[in-house]
Symmetry: C2
Subunit: 433 residues, 2 copies
Amino acid sequence: MYDHLKGFRDFYPGEMSARRETIDTVEATAERYGFREIGTPALERTQMYVDKSGEEIVEELYAFQDKGGRDVTLTPELTPTVARMVVAKSQELSKPIKWMSTRPFWRYEQVQQGRFREFYQTNVDIFGSAEPEADAEILAFAADAMTNLGLTADDFEFRVSHRDILGGLLEAFDADVDTRDAIRAVDKSAKIDREEYLALLTDAGLTWSQAEQFDDLLKSEDLDALVDFAGTERVEAAVTNLQNVLAVAEEFGVREYCTLSLETARGLDYYTGVVFECFDSTGEVSRAVFGGGRYDDLIESFGGQPTPAVGVAPGHAPLQLLCQRAGVWPEEALSTDYYLLTVGDTRDVAARIARELRATGNVVETDVADRSFGAQMGYADGINAETVVIVGEQDLANDEVTVKDMATGEQTTAPVDDFPGDRDAPTYDDFAE
Amino acid sequence: MYDHLKGFRDFYPGEMSARRETIDTVEATAERYGFREIGTPALERTQMYVDKSGEEIVEELYAFQDKGGRDVTLTPELTPTVARMVVAKSQELSKPIKWMSTRPFWRYEQVQQGRFREFYQTNVDIFGSAEPEADAEILAFAADAMTNLGLTADDFEFRVSHRDILGGLLEAFDADVDTRDAIRAVDKSAKIDREEYLALLTDAGLTWSQAEQFDDLLKSEDLDALVDFAGTERVEAAVTNLQNVLAVAEEFGVREYCTLSLETARGLDYYTGVVFECFDSTGEVSRAVFGGGRYDDLIESFGGQPTPAVGVAPGHAPLQLLCQRAGVWPEEALSTDYYLLTVGDTRDVAARIARELRATGNVVETDVADRSFGAQMGYADGINAETVVIVGEQDLANDEVTVKDMATGEQTTAPVDDFPGDRDAPTYDDFAE
């Protein structure tokens, strides 16, 4: 007997139907904002990830050589792929480009609750606008997706920050700071104790007292004080940009979901402006549910024209944890409109009825295993059939079928020639006296 | 600049929307038959494929060692995975099990028209019924999917055969035949000339004259003659089974799409009963579009209880070729219900209208790039917006917005407080005098 690989999951129909409903909700939300679906390959050249993130990234990837000797990688995220696609057709694509897609990604990493080696995300991105409206639209899409899933402002918050505030502040210290390392330290700060955090900041080039001051400044969340401290145009512009994004988010109706949180940094190196992470307001789901932000330099670094970009990628495993915690995860059950139960040689009539009911969009099962009345009824119950239509030889002799409401157990007869007739979805009630 | 790998494809929004429509149609057809969606991993242990198909299969696979030293493979087909999943939960799953899913698969093979290294299929399977109704339901689903795509009986045919007729006939010759090799020869027969075909049959153990006789028997398609020739219960039972499947297909309303074709064999080894391939009736798409059949032994060979099974897997690349040939491939274009065009500082009103229109399911874009009237109108045209709602400072001073029908170019004004009002999808016509 074979088993699935560690960190990979088999989804059986019950769980899958809940996942499908969730994915459909997130995608439908994106579609209504005019994000257009794209399709992308599972494999890319490993070099693309090495160029972007350095040789050490390969350790976390499913990287290998294909039969043609190419170094290839199972895509660990979508952003490099969409950047590549934007560059490849930048002349033809009218801006802003608004794309979305849902698919699995793969990382060879430690398996934890809500974190797998194969994981599904819906990626949503805007290319070609540096305006705060674009950042705010990403926040608005994400907030709408959450509320469309049944979550409320009591369930989640977006902690919003700005990479240029962090970078600009670090620059303002009289120190030779490795900004990348320092920002990675900020990204870790919530998960480690203060001493350890400050030590990481000193590793990145700050003195201990500078590290303390930096930490205090971020914690204060007093944007005016930050501008005064830095005294640079860079920090001033970043603060203005962050305030503008939040102002547009207000107009877009989603400001209430956003919290200013300068200690939010996002781990990935390519972010340049506003960044945000979604958290469970109760803290029960302890890690960030998902995150996103602005990455204005990536397209150019991939050989394209300078193209500002901003995006978000809800991951479906952490989203499931949050929905379950909040009690809004869809029921993991099958649903079936009709089961056509045949007794004796009545298959042709049952087939005709099944065909007509399917044509109006109903989910209809019928016997394909030559089973007894009881076995068929048990199966119909198991698939949660709402209505069972019994097509028996005796009923047919009277030109009738029996219509049974499975919730109440009530049943009645209907004229076979008038079933379903011109009804899209006939039920017991349509024929009961 | 990076490129995608050979045999892998990037799908941009226009083509993707046509693909999505096609996939949705095939999936909706399966859902209405009560096939339930499952989710499956992209990676499996390589050993599973070696056990099933022999060591040589590895040459065609994306097989590699992961960081933990496991021999793993990018799944080249779904059947072994679903067989594994059935075995893992065989006690809990009530039979018949009816599953479906759409996803990519990967094979390292020669890239041709309609054949890629990454290719998408919708797999549809029934486990737990040996009855002809199950085979016929698979044929009926497949035929309905085709007609739901707009294809007709003039466009495609299912060539139906039976593995046990082929195997039973071969057994009836006084020769030591390698059935697997002989059936592979039959599978190739349409693509090679007769001499070469007969030579392959002699390689498999028939004499030249036996090979000629075998070929004549298959070509005759006279099932009674086959039964007489073989004189075995096996061939008699197989012929009866094939006839029963076609009889049920008649009751299921899809017999017209089925042609008896004993020279159809399917390449894969695991088939045991009815097999079929879908062909373009015009022959313009020269290879089989897709195929399916019965594989009653696979679950047991995976360590499960004996479990009969039958399935089909439409591949979306060859299906696209057929739909394009038949002129029923969906238009590769974006569709947009509304573009909200802002002039001046009117974003808050535009955002309110956009939010209300999205809430009733419309696709609504608005400006996220701070662009001019002309640039916005050009963009709205590029995304095929049906209606443009112009929210201008001047109009707002009169408590109005302008509603423009993009097809006719006509425009009128509407009271801003009554737009959209209680209308789900207001158009120019709702406000024109």
